[in-house]
Symmetry: C2
Subunit: 373 residues, 2 copies
């Protein structure tokens, strides 16, 4: 106990991530569970984000898998606070949800919290909030979720959600919401209420389909919100099953920062042209390579910090053998940073070309994906 660890301090809250995160330590702090080999085996055919360890921790996901194995109903819930336009980082939980839907053939619920964005962004108008939602919904549908098994709803359109939020709100004190969401008295009462709305989103599959286990894929910093919903779930008013969670590590931004964020101006937007992607990757993607070609050939690159490689690993190169070869060649110095970037650029552009086409098609499919009471 007296042994003092010399490690950089880190801090993870839903609003702030600082220092170099020690994920094993964080799991202990939060009281979550590392994804064990037994669980990993059951998701080895899922999206790279799941099977390559970006999702590394969980709550009750083992129970979710067991329920599915026993033929019981399971579902997935993952929401989105709509923004002007979506970037690659925004896709993470949805790619996971889609992959789980494909592998376990279950319903996916996608609440769009236009109310949250409206409360939090001082200058966002009500009409803009609605527009952002409509825009983002097209990107989500374009990902290829199953119609008839995927249910999207906006809080400001499917206003029946207020009835569910009210039932949750009755069982959540301001103190509790304040502690989990860091509420301040000078913030508006929309913020005060939103914790109940968010918990209603997480519990929504059970509100409309009866008690069953649902899983929420989130970044690990969002776990306090999951805990809040799990507490509410067990209230005698509901008698729901505690929702399960899958926790992701923080994804690096293009520039290599700890948490992907759209405020850096170097994001790959889903609407970017092939040329924009090429420019952004070449200009911003943090490189694990050496300063000169000569040095790189001699010393090799470091794929562990190279953002292009990480993007291939997380999103764009599902083939394990191909990825291993890229990693090996980059580490040995055979593959140059420019070449690695070229591989990524091609992959991203192939993905975006298809995505943008499907997004156009999605415009005619919206109604098929909207939740109806």
């Amino acid at each position: 106990m007296a042994k003092k660890e010399v490690k950089s301090e880190f801090k993870v809250t839903p609003w702030e991530v600082t220092g170099e995160v020690d994920y094993e330590k964080l799991v202990k702090q939060f009281g979550t569970t590392l994804i064990a080999d037994k669980v990993k085996k059951k998701i080895e055919k899922c999206h790279p984000l799941l099977r390559r360890g970006i999702y590394f921790s969980h709550r009750d996901f083992d129970k979710w898998l067991e329920a599915h194995e026993k033929g019981k109903k399971v579902s997935i819930i993952t929401g989105r606070g709509p923004s002007e336009k979506m970037h690659l980082g925004h896709l993470v939980p949805f790619l996971v949800a889609k992959s789980l839907q494909e592998n376990f053939d279950c319903e996916v619920f996608i609440p769009i919290s236009d109310d949250e964005k409206f409360y939090v962004k001082e200058n966002l108008t009500f009409e803009q909030a609605l527009e952002y939602s409509k825009d983002n919904i097209l990107d989500l549908i374009a990902l290829g979720f199953k119609p008839g098994k995927t249910f999207i709803f906006q809080d400001f359109v499917f206003t029946d959600i207020y009835k569910y939020a009210a039932r949750v709100a009755k069982r959540m004190t301001y103190s509790t919401a304040k502690a989990a969401f860091g509420l301040k008295p000078e913030q508006n009462v929309g913020w005060s209420f939103y914790p109940a709305m968010q918990a209603a989103h997480i519990l929504f599959p059970q509100f409309v389909r009866g008690a069953h286990i649902s899983v929420v894929p989130v970044a690990i910093d969002q776990d306090p919100f999951i805990r809040l919903s799990r507490d509410i779930a067990e209230h005698p008013d509901f008698n729901f099953t505690k929702p399960a969670a899958l926790h992701a590590k923080f994804l690096p931004s293009l520039a290599g920062g700890a948490k992907m964020s759209s405020s850096e101006g170097s994001q790959i937007f889903l609407s970017d042209s092939a040329d924009e992607v090429k420019k952004k990757i070449n200009k911003y993607a943090f490189s694990g390579g050496q300063a000169t070609i000569e040095e790189h050939r001699k010393l090799g690159g470091n794929p562990d910090v190279d953002v292009s490689f990480q993007y291939l690993k997380m999103f764009f190169e599902p083939d394990d053998a191909k990825l291993a070869k890229i990693e090996k060649d980059y580490r040995s110095g055979k593959l140059l940073t420019g070449e690695l970037k070229a591989i990524l650029i091609e992959k991203i552009n192939a993905f975006l070309k298809e995505h943008q086409k499907r997004r156009e098609e999605a415009k005619k499919q919206v109604d098929k994906f909207l939740f109806k009471a």
Copy 2:
């Protein structure tokens, strides 16, 4: 300034009324305006509650009258937190609203805050809240509001109200709501949000009909909520007209207490039978008469504190000449307490008989009165 008034202290907040209320002093404290003769003249054909001074104070009601005179749109908004069953006291603002509608031919909006009751009453279930609303709506329709000009909605049914509440919520801080509503951190976040919902109710006529002046009849203790809505109305997000208000004095309970309340067990419910009414009035109605018939004949009664007389004055004897005669006879001792009570009993029972008949008819008319987007 040094002169010390020897007067009983009083306190008026939305949650507490203590001491003998000095209404003139209260008007100064609250910054409202006494209803002047000029205004009184314009409502001299209205319900006794208005023309006999029970409504004694206002905010901008003179502007409301002027707008109407100029042919501009005006409206009335008065809500109800639904309860198991309604009693006579609950009717006060609705009798006033109905009378204003008749005299000024304008729209009336009636929000039913089943959400508020649900948040505040620990053991009230969601289903019960809905039931109470349905029940109370029948009583409101039975009062004889104009169909096509009267719009009732329940927060838990017309959930579109959430969109309006959200827009208000964005412009109301928790501090502000806390100050006006006395919020406590151990209360649920439904309570935290409700101040925005209530303001959305008060501003609802303007949300759906555009900016115009609307008046809210309330008991004077509710004025802090009016002030809150008036502040919100002027926010650039809305650019609404500050809603006007009409303030009532506190009505005596049957037993003569300062504020009519359903917790005393001696209320006249709208569902009471003729026999129940007779028993309650005879048993509970606080008398201004003397202890014995002989003394009463000699000294006379005091109609100012006699609840039966007050009920006739406020509700049941619209004919000024008849009321004056009853007052005179009671004061002189010619009319005995038992006789006065008999007059009231007959009046109430005639009213309730008609009301109960109309309530049955109302069951088929509900749809005509529900607000539709």
